[in-house]
Amino acid sequence: MKDNIFIRYLPLVLLAILWEIAPRVHFVDPSELPPLSAVAAAWWSLLLDGDLWTNGISSLINWSFGLGSSIIIGIALGVMMAWSTTIDDIASPLVKALYPMPKSALIPVMILWLGLGAGSKIASIALSCLLPVIISAYNGARGVDQTLIWSARACGASNRNVLWEVILPGALPDILAGIRNAVAISFIVLVASELLVGQKGLGYLISFLGEGGVYDAMFAVVITVSALGFFADRAYLYFMRRTLVWRE
């Protein structure tokens, strides 16, 4: 029974059937919950219109620039903090002070600085994802077995070799776990910033359709964004397991 994929996912199928039937028999108001088939039809027409593509690509660009820069900068800063006690002493109080800040509060400041366009969204995503990546890289690099570093040095490894061949691989599990957090945060900030301002992006499309009262299409875009978030996480998890296969 455990391996039977149909039985395993049957609850989701049941929920989908319930979603289709409940509005049809007016158990719930169809204007508040359009039946699943209507949502699917709306999704198809959005896809044919190209609305889903143009907004989706705009979201994707902001997302990848924001997340990508936070990953690169975050790993560099985190490893540097672990490498040098001076940098650690200087930077870690600031990092620790800012870490618990609710990330969404950055969005208005970024809008103030960078305007309503893509810049403020990319910056909001990058800054929100930065701290989790820094902390994971820092913890990972500090957790690298000291004897490994000593052995590498004793074999004549240069600083550069130690960094690339001992510290980074050693810190990788933590870094990858931190990036998974960052992926989750990046989606929240992306959608939130698009819901708030802008004329492009899937978040914008959701609020535009919602304000226009086109609820079946709005549900379709919400499902699309959720699916993107879900598959991004799953794909990342798969990538993470593949990357860390040498640890087992």
Partner: protein, 264 residues
């Protein structure tokens, strides 16, 4: 060698302390000085003293306290709902196979979803006032609690459970005396993940739907191009975030005072 050690002006301990606070001080000084020298316009970066003064005035006039109160009520209403629902669902998933069958795919699909995308649906269902915000918070924070409780309950030491059962403990006592206490550290970790999420979501909800609160007043300030208001908002939110995280740590230490983790 030890005798001729160079006498330093500062003892090493103080040197380290100074170094450790240098970044915060430097940032504050750079902010104040940069703003005063008008490297950037007052609009983009009001000086730190202006922002703190604004924060102080808003505290005196009670404006920020009202906003804070609204935000906290919404956060904790949603968080409490998520905590209760999450713990109940998590424990029953781990203990009852039918419940596990039903919730397993829902949790594994629902947990990584960007829940914030559902915001307009919640507005449609619950209106633009408090209920939609509270529901949104509960929906976003329930998943980490479920996942953490589930894992913690599954990992309860089997020997403890078997010993209790062989001593004739009934199901109810087993749950309250053995399973819940042993799962407590894991459950609490879930709550510690969920609370910051609640705060993030409340602030986003207030920004998009209005209805005052810290997020709402920050957005209002932004629309009126009142940048000291925006910056005092972010400072207030940052402080609240740290205070809540610290409070959770303190509560954890008090609640788990009997547990081995508190010893170190």
């Amino acid at each position: 060698m030890a005798g001729v050690e160079k006498k330093s002006f500062l003892s090493p301990v103080w040197k380290r302390r100074l170094l450790r606070s240098s970044s915060v001080i430097l940032l504050a000084v750079a902010w104040e000085w940069g703003a005063r020298m008008h490297f950037v316009s007052d609009f983009l970066l009001p000086s730190l003293s202006t922002v703190l003064e604004r924060l102080w005035n808003d505290t005196i006039s009670g404006e920020i306290l009202v906003a804070l109160g609204l935000t906290m009520v919404r956060t904790f209403a949603g968080f409490t709902m998520a905590a209760f629902a999450g713990i109940i669902i998590g424990v029953t998933i781990a203990r009852v196979s039918l419940v596990r069958w039903f919730f397993d795919p829902i949790v594994s699909v629902g947990n990584p979803l960007p829940k914030i995308a559902f915001l307009p649906i919640f507005i449609l269902w619950f209106g633009v006032f408090d209920w939609s915000k509270i529901a949104m918070v509960a929906f976003s924070s329930v998943f980490p609690v479920v996942v953490a409780t589930w894992a913690a309950t599954e990992n309860v030491d089997k020997y403890l459970v078997w010993s209790a059962e062989s001593l004739g403990v009934d199901r109810r006592a087993l749950l309250w005396q053995i399973i819940l206490p042993s799962a407590m550290p894991g459950v609490f970790t879930g709550l510690q993940i969920a609370l910051p999420i609640s705060l993030i979501v409340v602030i986003i909800c207030e920004m998009t739907m209005g209805g005052e609160g810290l997020g709402g007043s920050m957005m209002t300030s932004m629309r009126f191009a009142d940048s000291p208001g925006v910056f005092s908002g972010i400072v207030a939110i940052a402080i609240i975030g740290s205070v809540l995280v610290k409070l959770m740590e303190i509560v954890r230490r008090r609640l788990l005072i009997w547990h081995a983790e508190t010893a170190h």
